[in-house]
């Protein structure tokens, strides 16, 4: 059965195709074979035997990628025993990779993918260093089947939220992070001494210090939650000192210093509708994402409410209403996050050879009036069903159909 599905060829014909990597193509075909994109263009020959999907009058885009959330890591956030995202008791949890906590059977997956979200970052939660986030496709019965990249980023927190790990001061947090990074460096050169206990006490476990090596080598990005301008600058400073590959998340006051962020070549994950001031970010505002984009910063968008990851579309629409161009916003939920998480060779645009995560929409993906006609994940035509559609079916006419 699986072999048969993989051998399937699907032709999505007649739609307006938004490859993201290039300009839109009217009346175009997207050809999917063996779970990959085999052809994109206005003059694509449809092989005999291909399953045809008529997308006339429809819009075709890459599947949307959410740069945040905890998909599969928690079923009901208020029910503690359905939560797998936090390693309790450790302020430095660099070796904590969430992958095996992900539940492929989570009901949240079907609810959200049928609205066009095909890929999400599953992020741990914690104190100073939260652990390793993984990128997953929202289809598959095993974590192996869902995994896109693991780890995709090491996550740390330099916002108000991690102050306890620094003894109650932001300065303490920054110093502690440096101590951990220094110790990780020292550990790398003195593993034998460490095993023989011929080394002073280090500030994290061997497993955590080991897990930080790819970060220190600049191979694994360090995703830092920072909102206040000064916290963003601390993150930029530390990244420079240790030559880290940095991703900023939140970055609520980033709009104040787009030049600084752009000059450092650091991408930013932003939640556009987030504008409630706190002492962590009194300068938070709706226009953050557009102002960052205007300033030359690479911006990807996120919706942090996991159960409503589908509202990533609304986040993008609001970014447009606040001044982002529509093209920037579409890129910010497709190709840009793919680049940020280092999978742009496989994800984020409709190009030959890429994984066939493709959505057929009735119109503009950000518009509430737009429905989803088809969602392909790795070439599979996903049934547009969820627990919610079943509830609707049961109660659409009363009394309900039991």
């Amino acid at each position: 059965m699986i072999a048969f599905l993989l051998a399937q060829t699907i032709a999505i014909t007649g739609g307006t195709v938004y490859p993201v990597s290039g300009p839109k193509i009217a009346n175009a075909t997207v050809l999917i074979r063996d779970g990959r994109i085999a052809a994109v263009g206005a003059n694509v020959a449809v092989p005999a035997g291909a399953t045809r999907i008529d997308a006339s009058g429809k819009w075709v885009t890459p599947g949307l990628i959410d740069g945040a959330g905890q998909m599969g890591l928690r079923e009901i956030s208020a029910v503690q025993n359905t939560n797998e995202a936090t390693l309790r008791g450790n302020e430095v949890s660099a070796s904590f990779n969430v992958l095996e906590g992900i539940n492929p059977a989570s009901t949240l997956i079907a609810v959200n993918r049928m609205e066009g979200i095909t890929t999400t970052l599953a992020v741990p939660n914690g104190s100073l260093i939260w652990g390793q986030a993984v990128l997953i496709d929202l289809d598959g019965t095993t974590i192996e089947a869902m995994r896109v990249k693991s780890p995709a980023a090491m996550v740390a927190d330099l916002s108000e939220g991690s102050k306890d790990a620094g003894g109650g001061s932001r300065a303490g947090v920054a110093q502690r992070l440096r101590r951990v990074l220094n110790d990780a460096r020292e550990y790398a050169t003195r593993r034998a001494d460490y095993r023989r206990r011929q080394i002073q006490d280090l500030s994290a476990s061997a497993a955590d210090l080991e897990a930080l090596q790819p970060v220190l080598r600049g191979e694994l990005p360090l995703l830092v939650v920072a909102n206040r301008r000064s916290d963003i600058e601390t993150a930029l400073r530390i990244a420079k000192e240790y030559k880290l590959k940095l991703i900023l998340a939140g970055a609520a006051e980033g709009w104040m210093i787009p030049d600084e962020i752009a000059a450092a070549g650091v991408p930013v994950l932003v939640e556009p509708m987030d504008n409630i001031p706190s002492f962590d970010a009194l300068g938070i505002r709706y226009e953050n994402a557009p102002l960052l984009a205007k300033g030359g910063v690479k911006v990807a968008l996120m919706e942090t409410a996991t159960e409503n990851t589908r509202d990533l579309r609304q986040q993008a629409g609001n970014a447009v209403a606040s001044g982002m161009t529509w093209e920037q916003a579409l890129r910010a939920v497709t190709l840009t996050p793919a680049e940020v998480f280092g999978v742009a060779d496989r994800y984020g645009s409709l190009d030959v050879g890429k994984v066939a995560n493709v959505v057929v929409w009735t119109g503009d993906p950000f518009d509430f009036g737009t429905g989803v006609e088809h969602v392909f994940i790795r070439g599979r035509d996903i049934p547009l069903r969820s627990r919610q559609t079943e509830l609707l079916e049961r109660y659409k006419t009363l009394p309900p159909k039991y």
Binding site: A68, Q70, R74, E75, I76, S77, A78, V79, T107, L108, V111, V123, N125, S159, G161, V225, R229, A249, G250, E253, M256, L269, E271, M273, D274, N275, I276, P277, S278, F279, L282, G283, M302, T304, A305, T306, E307, N308, R310, D311, Q314, G317, N318, V320, A321, F366, D367, F368, G369, G371, Q388, L391, L392, Y395, K396, L398, P400
Partner: protein, 473 residues
């Protein structure tokens, strides 16, 4: 990054059920208001008569020249969608709406070409001001979580008019809110129904003539908060708690009603808790009931029948669609989100089509926020709910969807004779939108509250800041 642990803490304690209150129309503010305006609904005589006006509204309309918005698409929320329409308002009242409206010489004329007009947005469920930003313990004033029945507390006594969330909501087109106590308690206290205008005190914001609400809460929150603190710790404990409170209130009401009639002997001793509950029994205070699950709403309707009061609106009501027929029959509105679900167990069964299904069954739908972020986009949430309903084959009209955040919440607060539609004589609460308000791309360009231009997207002189925000980044 707002991860749910944070958001959830707010939901749990802040997210409450709305309860609106019959606001005593006062001699001062109320009378002045009524002269300038359409007739106010009958004000409740607070508690047993003989107790005079309490904490009266001092709201006064802000002067503003007459305004004519011309050549816009006007959604009246009263059944009309007028292309190329004009609306004239003066002295806080809507004077005329139509395609042929003349401007008086002193009117400010606003070109509405390509733009849209709706009534001011009304939120039946807000914790702005009682859970103010920046969200510290110092401002956490929404739940008197010291005992499960606190009918004696009034949200207005917590409300901080300098909450920086207020201007954000105004910029989202909101002109009236019901500020509610949270949902920690079985009975959380009285709500405050407020005009969303810059003010030094909550009294200056109190909507003259509005009914107080009484916030009640079902389900998980009270039993979680009190489970280890003397109870209730179960849903059956919750029910016993409401019943016990109303049994006491019945006795209190009898005593006062008798004394008010015959004035024999000393007046009975006042009891603030029973005063609020007795007003519910008299029908002067509206019950605003946080309740998620269908089966629990059915229990609460039975409770209301037992004591002879009406539940004005269920709030959150993510399972309203399961009992849409009953809700329509009972005349109980639902104040709901378009798509929130799953953040707690009793919210598991939320579906996009909730609003549309209740509407279809003949019920009264309100899109509410319960959230300082969501209150800025109630128009968008209504749009989401409308289009999802349509895609499920339920024909929701644009007028109905606009009523979800205007006329219907006005009814829930007992203000439907004053606000909620664009009709001559109504209070001039008017929003000018950049696009179809049910679109994700629409932004409020101008917001008029009682005829006063409180917000103008293109004019910094009309972008109010609260004191808190001065000198901040």
């Amino acid at each position: 990054m707002r991860y749910l642990p944070t958001a959830f803490a707010l939901l749990v304690f802040a997210a409450g059920c709305a309860s609106a209150g019959a606001r005593t129309t006062t001699a001062a503010g109320g009378a002045a208001r009524q002269q300038a305006a359409a007739p106010a609904p009958a004000a409740s005589q607070d508690t047993a008569a003989g107790i005079g006006p309490q904490y009266p509204s001092t709201y006064q309309r802000h002067p503003n020249p007459p305004v004519l918005i011309r050549n816009a698409t006007i959604l009246t929320a009263a059944g009309q969608e007028i292309q190329g329409g004009s609306i004239l308002f003066k002295d806080g009242r809507i004077v005329a709406v139509g395609t042929n409206v003349q401007a008086p010489t002193d009117a400010t004329v606003v070109d509405g070409t390509g733009k849209w007009v709706t009534p001011g947005v009304i939120d039946t469920h807000s914790h702005i001001g009682v859970y103010a930003a920046p969200g510290t313990f110092a401002e956490s004033d929404g739940n008197e979580a010291t005992r499960p029945v606190t009918a004696e507390v009034w949200a207005e006594h917590s409300f901080w008019p300098q909450d920086p969330q207020i201007p954000l909501a105004i910029a989202g087109g909101v002109t009236t809110i019901q500020a509610l106590p949270g949902s920690a308690n079985l009975i959380g206290g009285r709500s405050a129904v407020l005009k969303l205008v810059p003010a030094r005190s909550v009294q200056e914001m109190k909507f003259p003539g509005a009914h107080y609400g009484l916030k009640m809460a079902c389900g998980e929150n009270p039993k979680r908060v009190y489970g280890q603190r003397g109870g209730p710790s179960t849903r059956m404990g919750n029910m016993a708690g409401y019943r016990d409170a109303f049994i006491q209130a019945q006795a209190y009401r009898r005593k006062w009603d008798k004394w008010n009639k015959d004035h024999q002997g000393d007046a009975p001793e006042r009891n603030l808790r029973n005063e609020s509950l007795a007003e519910v029994l008299r029908g002067n205070i509206y019950v605003q009931n946080h309740c998620y699950r269908a089966d629990e709403m059915m229990q609460m309707l039975d409770l209301a029948h037992e004591f002879g009061f009406k539940i004005r609106s269920f709030h959150h009501a993510v399972e309203a669609y399961k009992i849409a027929d009953v809700l329509a029959r009972e005349g109980t509105a639902v104040s709901i989100w378009s798509d929130w679900w799953g953040f707690k167990e009793e919210a598991m069964d939320g579906i996009y089509e909730n609003a549309a299904l209740v509407q279809q069954a003949g019920g009264r739908v309100v899109i509410h926020s319960d959230d300082a972020s969501g209150i800025q986009r109630l128009n968008q949430e209504a749009g989401k709910a409308m289009y999802h309903g349509r895609r499920a084959g339920i024909p929701i009209t644009r007028d109905q969807a606009v009523r979800w955040f205007t006329a219907n919440p006005a009814w829930v607060l007992g203000l439907d004779s004053l606000v909620g539609t664009l009709e001559p004589g109504k209070m001039a609460d008017v929003v000018l939108w950049s696009a179809d308000p049910l679109s994700v791309y629409a932004r409020a360009l101008q917001v008029y509250n009682d005829g006063w231009l409180v917000y103008d997207r293109n004019d910094p002189a009309h972008q109010p800041k609260t004191d808190f925000s001065l000198g901040q980044p």
